[in-house]
Symmetry: C2
Subunit: 415 residues, 2 copies
């Protein structure tokens, strides 16, 4: 293991905050942002962020290839987004009712996403996936849901992948299929009972944390659409992680496959807390019949930020930028690995890079690589896909590749 | 019915936005902020807010006694809160990890709330109640939860009060008692099985929407504590609506009753989206064992706002202000009602006023009253408790009472 804390960078303030956090926060930190399972050199706390760069509390600078696990699709403190947020903030944010920008945003999403006839807003990605299933259940009058094994749809009890704190009844209506495996879908339908299926939920491609990514087989996407039509069930697309990264509209639009409902969050407001459920006209009545709400779901500032974000994504051709930068990063890394004679596996869309090392089931190599990257000022993750943003530059990729050369040497030494 | 739209105020922009919203938002609007069930004069959309005042999109000004259904405990755009938020925003908000203010906030809550040894943050009140039950289940290894009939703990499927979109299994572990009725608690325990009870969840007082409020009988509070101790179950206090309104710490602290876990949201960051679970040391291990997270749960700006809010609440003696203003409002309204010979019923803490009219089961009188209040520039609600803030002034109460005199006349005419 190469992941003991080194003195290469100052860590004193971070370590002091960790000591204090250990006394007042469960486990010292929780959820996807805990560094508990990362190489020891990772900072837990961050002081500042701008563009593609972040600074930890001890003043160390990093090029951030995690984008806060996705939200920062245009980079930190994007001027157009911050200006729009500030203009709305000067008027009002949480108010006794929504601001006009809620309607503007709903109209914009309906215009940008092919299957969307309406939009409903919330705060968490989990809110959006949960509400999508509620709409599907209200529309169909059925309860069973088919989900891909190992897919992450949130941390609400129905979607939680741990047993701790989760009553079995909360997952009693879930049946699992294997992504890209039509036969497994048939088995899950049989298990649930064809007449009981309210929805099939899927991510646009397989991005289970800790595993290689897998792009969707277009025939599988079409098959899910076809089976949902036959069953009278909703096809629900979980776009929380992917939304607006692969395409300016829905991720399966280039395949000609449209869902009935889709769940969005993470990057739609460039870091402002917002989630959205989009749906077709056929599901509007059911969506109006369920009761879902939250104290901050009508907050105006994140909606104003979302409008600016979605416009900037198209104006700046963010998908094009992420593709170009991502290809350079992938190709450059491939070249370095071949030169160093390190076997690597890069999977998924280049905008959401995933690196693994064949046979590295306990992540020893991935951790060794990540630890060196971190020490060289590059934030990546050993067990989760990375995220590119439109703020990443060729210079950032150069920085990444320089660090990666050393990172790959650490992988060799970890064997 | 007196609630047809009048021309007393301009409504053109609001009506135009409603028409557009009807095309792209389910039901035209959803959740607790829809005006669908309010008198027709209520604006759906708001343009601006400051202190105790809000302006609708047509420029009409109102004194707001709903405080956005609770969050705005210090009033809109409170300088100390906005300054703290802005200072943090200039550094970073959503980042690859939390900012130092997360630790500061956890320490502050642990210091202010007697039973709190730790804090875990989320976005929605529903997140906080859900996570509380997850912690209780993880700690006890049991699944059953006792909740008061009709209490609102959120719109997640397990807590939802409608059947639409909710699978019965999601509420299979809930058993119901009547608030302030110890015998009903015993019946619910028997129904659940004493060995299966993970938690009893309660609000500090009964504030079911559409009904008169009911303060807790101190003996009932003590009884819940005692029964939880006997059962080895968690007493979970849902402070989402009440938090820091009744007391600077936990709402039952003056009774000498402390819960094991508590759920907070709404007003803890004066309108910024934040929720918190607080717990005793005994539950820390379970809290660290469950996996709960969200893309925006570590957002720094709402935490900085929360620190400023909690400090300002104490510095300004916000509870004292709300009590004084609330008492003036309640006494003044009582006097007016007696003079007008209108029977009214005011219940609950004066900081969270609730007005009803005996026998008004279909809310005809409540709607007539609210419609006139609205026309006279005062926002109240016919079926939900109102909220005072520390920004409400004697002049605001005077404005309220002047309008109420006319509102009570409308009640007489509605009979």
């Amino acid at each position: 293991m190469t992941d003991t804390t080194t003195d290469a960078k100052l860590r004193a303030l971070d370590l002091d905050l960790r000591r204090r956090a250990a006394a007042v926060i469960p486990g010292g930190m929780y959820g996807h942002m805990t560094v508990g399972y990362l190489p020891a050199a990772y900072p837990q706390f961050y002081a500042r962020s701008e563009g593609s760069r972040v600074w930890d509390v001890d003043g160390n600078e990093y090029v951030d290839f995690m984008c806060s696990f996705g939200p920062m699709i245009l980079g930190y403190r994007h001027p157009a987004v911050e200006d729009a947020a500030q203009a709305q903030r000067a008027q009002g944010d949480t108010q006794p009712g929504p601001a006009p920008c809620m309607v503007d945003l709903a109209e914009l999403l309906v215009q940008r996403v092919a299957h969307a006839d309406w939009a409903l807003f919330a705060k968490n990605g989990t809110d959006a996936t949960t509400v999508s299933l509620m709409v599907a259940r209200a529309h169909t009058g059925r309860n069973k849901v088919l989900a891909a094994a190992g897919a992450y749809h949130g941390s609400a009890p129905w979607a939680n992948f741990r047993r701790d704190g989760v009553a079995p009844e909360e997952q009693a209506n879930l049946h699992y299929y294997e992504f890209n495996d039509p036969a497994s879908v048939e088995r899950a339908i049989e298990e649930a009972g064809a007449d009981n299926v309210a929805a099939i939920i899927a991510t646009p491609f397989k991005h289970n944390a800790g595993f290689d990514q897998e792009e969707v087989d277009p025939a599988f996407a079409r098959r899910l659409r076809e089976r949902c039509d036959q069953l009278g069930a909703a096809l629900v697309m979980d776009e929380v992680r992917t939304g607006f990264r692969l395409n300016h509209g829905g991720s399966w639009e280039p395949l000609g496959v449209n869902p009935d409902l889709s769940a969005w969050s993470k990057a739609i407001a460039n870091g402002y807390p917002l989630a959205a459920v989009l749906g077709t006209g056929a599901y509007a009545e059911a969506a109006s019949r369920i009761f879902v709400t939250g104290s901050f779901w009508f907050q105006a500032v994140p909606m104003a930020a979302a409008i600016a974000t979605i416009r900037a994504l198209q104006d700046e051709d963010a998908v094009g930028t992420m593709r170009r930068i991502g290809s350079r990063l992938r190709d450059g890394l491939e070249e370095l690995a071949q030169a160093a004679e390190v076997a690597i596996c890069q999977t998924g869309p280049v905008q959401m890079p995933n690196l693994s090392f064949p046979g590295d089931t306990d992540y020893v190599k991935a951790r060794a690589f990540s630890a060196v990257m971190l020490e060289r000022g590059v934030i990546v993750h050993p067990r989760h896909n990375w995220f590119l943003s439109a703020a990443h530059t060729d210079a950032d990729v150069d920085w990444f590749l320089e660090a990666a050369e050393e990172g790959l040497q650490a992988v060799l030494q970890s064997e």
